[in-house]
């Protein structure tokens, strides 16, 4: 692809020689990239997103260096890919790893300041039996103020000053229209300063127990009081009975001495807690071993059955004596063309115990509990996965078979080897050299084949009375899902930690597998 290395050194590339159009195309494209990059940088600055800003600045500088420098020719080809790798792979992985060390999940959804604001917001209650007032929003020397009419008196107050009577104000139909020394704000102005308006609390009197005036819509105001008082210095909330809720940075919650907590909490780092949960959660002790062994059984059997069927079909339909091979091959690939989750749903319907096509029509009204019996559910899963997976194996085996030189088979025939001997001693070993890495990949894929399990059986039949909603066909990844999401509360931190553990397991197995494959290659 590259245009330089074999050329005489003085010859410039299309994109460097200013007498050629290539240079100008490059210039225009780089201008566009720079314009977009600068736009992104400004937008990130506007949003106060410093991480994004730093990334964009760095990415743009590197882009300009790579595409205008003489030295970075490989970089020109690699850079876009590397950029996408950073955004879509590395960032995601780093973020997952970070989340795994936090308690991010239900009840710990946001940062601490947001949690404090929210607690104050939800504890602010309207005082029972108090009236609502038509309210006028005023601007008094830059300070926002409320004006209401109470018993034909006009009362005005702001954040500092409680409601006090103002003598010479004008009111019409119970609503204040004019206050000396202050401007009445119109809707558009109120809208621009809406956070100020909605955040304003005007004390009713000097006594804080009388509550304060607030509004939600800048038209009507009501008297409210907070159930909790926040003290910034000690970082505590105190309720009416005097119970003190102290911020606990280890849990990300405001907790009282008796252990009561306020909602919501906030996200904090919790170290390795999420990682150890899988091994310390007593609710998992029972089913964990059976789920682990079923995960291995499922992925190994899936690979073996699909490979065996795919290979048999490939060998048969590789024989020139079979008529209409292309049509058959095309038909075999059909299940592969189906989206897997869709096929799983269709099979789920087909296998329904009382109404499914298989029991009703194929088996003449039999009542086979495909999904409610543990063993049958496992068989159903392997069977459906066989249907889904054999076309892929058929494809790769067909390809690999055609790459094996015919002379080898001829030579074996000369030596007097029968068909079985030829298959086991020549075809299969040669096939495995090229197919083995794909088998390992298939194993890794099935180890985490969440969509099939989730769509086909949902992990069921559930272990009766198991302390977590997990069942006999759950594999590790769907168990994590059940634990981190289906058991009622979403726990992203736990889910991230567990997926990292599963990643390590799959990684180690794949690594061992690839080492074995290398030995196969050495046979060659």
């Amino acid at each position: 692809m590259s245009s330089t290395p074999t050329q005489p050194p003085r010859r410039l590339s299309h994109a460097r020689d200013i007498s050629r159009p290539g240079f100008y195309i490059k210039l225009v494209l780089m201008m566009l990239v720079n314009a977009l990059g600068l736009y992104g940088i400004l937008a990130a600055y506007g949003q106060r997103e410093w991480g994004v800003l730093a990334f964009l600045v760095l990415a743009l500088i590197i882009a300009d260096y790579v595409y205008f420098s003489k030295r970075a020719i490989p970089g020109k080809y690699l850079y876009p890919g590397l950029l996408f790798l950073a955004v879509f792979q590395i960032y995601v992985m780093v973020n997952t790893a970070y989340v795994a060390f936090t308690n991010y999940g239900d009840g710990h959804n946001d940062s601490k300041p947001s949690a404090i604001t929210q607690i104050m917001k939800t504890s602010d209650r309207r005082v029972d039996g108090t009236p609502t007032y038509p309210v006028t929003v005023l601007d008094r020397d830059g300070e926002m103020a409320f004006a209401i009419v109470d018993d034909d008196r006009v009362l005005v107050g702001d954040a500092e000053e409680p409601l006090t009577e103002v003598g010479d104000a004008v009111a019409e139909d119970g609503r204040v229209t004019e206050v000396p020394g202050a401007t009445v704000l119109q809707l558009a102005e109120i809208q621009q300063r809406q956070n100020e308006v909605l955040g304003l609390r005007v004390s009713m009197t000097d006594d804080p127990d009388d509550g304060w005036l607030r509004t939600d819509n800048a038209a009507m105001a009501y008297v409210a009081k907070s159930l909790l008082q926040y003290d910034e210095a000690s970082d505590t909330f105190t309720d009416a009975e005097g119970t003190v809720y102290t911020a606990d940075p280890a849990q990300g919650l405001f907790v009282s001495d008796s252990g009561e907590a306020l909602t919501p909490g906030w996200r904090v780092l919790v170290g390795f807690d999420n990682f150890t949960r899988m091994f310390t959660d007593s609710r998992l002790a029972g089913p964990f071993v059976s789920i682990l062994s079923w995960t291995f059984a499922f992925s190994i059997l899936s690979v073996l059955t699909t490979f065996a069927l795919g290979l048999i079909l490939a060998v048969v339909f590789n024989d020139p004596r079979v008529k209409g091979r292309t049509i058959y091959r095309a038909l075999f690939i059909l299940p592969y063309a189906f989206p897997g989750f869709l096929a799983a749903l269709v099979w789920r319907g087909l296998l329904n115990q009382e109404f499914g096509f298989i029991n009703e029509v194929l088996l003449g009204g039999a009542n086979i509990p495909w999904f409610s019996s543990g063993i049958l559910a496992k068989l159903s899963i392997i069977g459906v996965n066989l249907w889904l997976g054999f076309p892929y194996m058929f494809l790769v085996a067909t390809g690999a078979l055609q790459a094996i030189p015919g002379e080898l088979a001829e030579a074996a025939v000369m030596d007097g080897a029968g068909p079985w001997r030829r298959f086991w001693s020549i075809t299969l070993p040669l096939l495995l050299v090229s197919v083995a890495p794909l088998l390992i990949a298939s194993f890794a894929f099935n180890f985490n084949n969440f969509s099939l399990i989730y769509m086909l059986t949902g992990g069921g039949p559930n272990y009766p009375g198991a302390p977590l909603p997990i069942g006999e066909t759950d594999i590790l990844i769907s168990m994590v899902y059940a634990m981190a999401f289906e058991s009622g509360t979403r726990q992203y931190g736990l889910a991230s930690a567990m997926s990292i553990i599963i990643f390590v397991v799959v990684g180690v197995i794949s690594w061992l597998g690839f080492r074995q494959t290398r030995k196969l290659e050495e046979i060659m």
């Binding site: 239900d106 919501p264 039949p461 009375g465």
Partner: protein
């Protein structure tokens, strides 16, 4: 050839970048915020407010809210940008998006999300003021938590007993008699169909369960749910044994899911079905003559279904709180509730609008839900469904003894509340 390929690739790349750039910029809140304020500034002389609100609604509610948005913007000048979200994800997406500032201003969802939304601090309390009394009591309790209202309810729905009048014309007072009657109907395969499925469906069995005096959670003096399980103890176990009996008689089966139940009723294979207003339209369209009745009691006490409430919630991080409040006020008007009733076919939550509804089928559901209680919205409820359905299925399929299964259910739930 090579040059043109490279040029095409480069153009493609820059287009992709452009697409990414513009995509991310339009979705940032400040962009919309700026647009709002600048729009407001240019029309500052106009009396009406201007700007835009983003609302998330799922596929079943999107059309109604689009229509509503047109009325709203005609009245106030505020544009309503209704975004469709899949019903399965809408709550989780909202919880995940609000803290990032990328979430919508408002969300339309069923009230049982209230607990989760509050626990995660993503919704603002709503002060209905004196308007509160205009709403149905159950509807208002459904969107409240610990005495604070969090949403504006607009529709109420519950399940009831739907009868095919071509097969039977009168309905007995107890569930056992109903089954006996249903078994005598010639040509019917089932005395009654109640949808279950592989993971169970406690929602559709709940009227039977409450008739044994075993509500899911106990209520306090105000009628609010507490976190104490009401289905523990002998009442719940009696219901578990009744389930076993129904399964043995072939009345209930885990393999009858929603689609199968609906089809059986449509085909005239069952004189009764326990379902909600979401399917009665189809039954009527198919030419069935149906009546909706309260579910007969199985355990002696009144059968109380769950009442589901549709409501609009306000994001705690909305940058347009004031406009959003205007929309919430608009939601509470009779005209709006009438429009939503016409488009959605659910009982309005506003008493004034509900009283004006004359449809017989909906009135039947109203009667069936007269004893109903709001589906619990406390955060503990999130953990209940999975275990509850699992335990019921294990009883139906005979995998577990009813009383033992029920006791384990209670133990597991209590452990899950602790976790």
């Amino acid at each position: 050839m090579r040059k043109s390929f490279l040029a095409a690739a480069a153009v493609g790349l820059s287009l992709t970048l452009a697409a990414c750039g513009s995509g991310s910029s339009t979705s940032t809140p400040s962009a919309t915020g700026d647009a709002t304020t600048s729009a407001a500034a240019t029309t500052s002389s106009a009396p009406a407010a201007a700007g835009s609100l983003t609302v998330w609604a799922d596929e079943t509610r999107i059309d109604a809210f689009k229509t509503l948005g047109e009325t709203f913007s005609a009245e106030t000048g505020v544009a309503l940008d209704v975004v469709q979200k899949p019903s399965a994800d809408i709550k989780n997406d909202f919880i995940a998006q609000v803290p990032t500032g990328e979430g919508p201003d408002l969300i339309v969802t069923a009230h049982d999300a209230t607990g989760d939304l509050v626990k995660n601090g993503v919704v603002s309390p709503v002060e209905l003021g004196d308007k509160a009394e205009a709403f149905g009591d159950v509807a208002l309790r459904a969107v409240s938590l610990e005495g604070q209202v969090y949403g504006v309810p607009y529709a109420v729905e519950n399940i009831g007993l739907v009868r095919n009048n071509a097969l039977v014309q009168d309905t007995p007072a107890t569930f056992d008699e109903l089954i006996a009657q249903g078994k005598g109907v010639s040509g019917a395969e089932f005395p009654i169909v109640i949808q279950q499925g592989e993971n169970g469906d406690p929602y559709h069995l709940y009227p039977l369960q409450t008739s044994f005096g075993a509500p899911v959670f106990k209520s306090d003096a105000n009628g609010d749910y507490t976190a104490e399980l009401g289905m523990a103890g002998p009442e719940g176990e009696a219901f578990a044994q009744y389930l076993k009996k129904l399964a043995d008689e072939g009345v209930l089966s885990a393999s009858i899911g929603g689609d199968q139940a609906k089809q059986a009723f449509l085909d005239g294979k069952s004189p009764y079905i326990i379902t909600g207003p979401w399917w009665t339209g189809e039954f009527v369209d198919a030419g069935l003559d149906i009546s909706v009745l309260p579910v007969p009691s199985a355990g002696g006490q009144p059968a109380a279904p769950f009442v589901g409430v549709q409501a609009v919630f306000l994001s705690s991080k909305s940058e347009n709180q004031l406009l959003a409040q205007q929309f919430l006020d608009f939601m509470g008007t009779k005209e709006t509730q009438d429009t939503l009733f016409e488009m959605g076919g659910r009982m309005p939550a506003l008493n004034e609008s509900a009283d004006a509804v004359s449809d017989e089928i909906l009135a039947g559901f109203g009667e069936a839900g007269a004893e109903g209680q709001p589906m619990p919205a406390i955060p503990e409820m999130g953990a209940v469904w999975q275990y509850w359905g699992g335990a019921e299925v294990s009883i139906l399929t005979g995998k577990a003894e009813p009383v033992a299964a029920w006791q384990t259910l209670v133990t597991n739930l209590e452990a899950a509340f602790q976790a």
